[in-house]
Symmetry: C2
Subunit: 253 residues, 2 copies
Amino acid sequence: MATGRTHRPATRSRGIPEATVARLPLYLRALTALSERSVPTVSSEELATAAGVNSAKLRKDFSYLGSYGTRGVGYDVEYLVYQISRELGLTQDWPVAIVGIGNLGAALANYGGFASRGFRVAALIDADPAMAGTPVAGIAVQHTDDLDRIISDNGVSIGVITTPPGAAQQVCDRLVAAGVTSILNFAPTVLSVPEGVDVRKVDLSIELQILAFHEQRKAGEDAAAEDEGAPPMRATPAGRKGPDGDMPAVMPA
Amino acid sequence: MATGRTHRPATRSRGIPEATVARLPLYLRALTALSERSVPTVSSEELATAAGVNSAKLRKDFSYLGSYGTRGVGYDVEYLVYQISRELGLTQDWPVAIVGIGNLGAALANYGGFASRGFRVAALIDADPAMAGTPVAGIAVQHTDDLDRIISDNGVSIGVITTPPGAAQQVCDRLVAAGVTSILNFAPTVLSVPEGVDVRKVDLSIELQILAFHEQRKAGEDAAAEDEGAPPMRATPAGRKGPDGDMPAVMPA
DNA sequence: ATGCCTTTGTGAACGCGTGCACAAAGATAG
DNA sequence: CTATCTTTGTGCACGCGTTCACAAAGGCAT
């Protein structure tokens, strides 16, 4: 069980709470919009509503970065944009490799939100030899066989996995072996990575399932038992446990 | 400020913590995999590692659902699959409409993970008249003008927004007016919705930015100031605040 | 039937995140 | 220069989520 860790960054990140880090991009986006409208300063109240958060939370978040901001006035937009960008590491160029050029991979390759934030799609990689050379979003797809070299040559440290679930772990291992230390995983798989490698997971169907839960709570509850097909009471398919007739514990709740 | 709320479900959801709900799909996936391998029972320890979580957390999560599980043995896989599915509302059919059939919308329409979880893509909607009628993932794209009727006719209560950011709020309003009460938003926009409507947000570039932050912490820190272009010290572009010469507070940290 | 062994279910402690509420800080007007 | 007004920055309290650790519960062997 040496390589079990997943998803939690081990290093607590120099005092800035993880929850705050997750909100910084939100602030940055709102600030960028203000900057484009040439708004010079903004109060915590205004910026908070623009970002969809509480103003107290926003101020506390900023306090972790330092005392940017002028009492009685607010925050200087340009200055704050720069500070947050720097804190997030967006002042440097991040070459990104996308592995698995299916529908989703292609969509990500075309996604504009990356380039505008300092992320550059440096390579597209797929296991299908037929795709090799095909341009997607203006970039030629390369074959998995060359993964190692591609990662090294481009200095890629962030990899995006959009492969089928069965291939995800293998691709992940190869990426890590090639030097990738941050992975954004779209495959519905739990990835095992060595210490020091960060994995973030985006699962499209999970989000829908969470919505369905709340949706059921909203609409349902009154129409409680709709049709109610027979719950699979087969706690003992054939193998173990109970040759003692039927299972009584079918309706525990 | 009547329609300000976003993202937080107001109803606390009958005692099941939000964090637990968010993990149920994870457990469900792991259990489904076990089920396909015809594994009859599983211990909290095994299931926890398969789902990538702590075993104590898993047991506590399940305790909110009720006392399914047998001490000394573990959990019956099939039974648990059913219970979690029911709790999440996946035993019923959820017609989903996707609005904005660009690269991402098309990718989602083709995504297999939806259908296998009880979600059915009932309609694809786009504002481009040229796309109307075009089949995507076997479904003909319909025009935004008919959005209202499409939602009603199909009984859609969950909408997915994959439009450009500028159109997101408008589409959102129309979806809500048509009866949608849950929205999965892929556009980088803060949506305003009335009370009772749930919004979940998936932002691809935010995830990358969070990774970049940790990446910078890992690799950087020693190579602290790389090239360091001039930080925008223009705290006063022209308008307000300070005709008092230069700003001293350029390097507060 | 009895005792051992495994695994669940949960009480309790702890730590993180959130929100309140206010004092300190600075701008602005007189 | 003084008073007033605005807005930040933060100490504090509270609640949620996580984790530990163990008693209760059940299976299984003898």
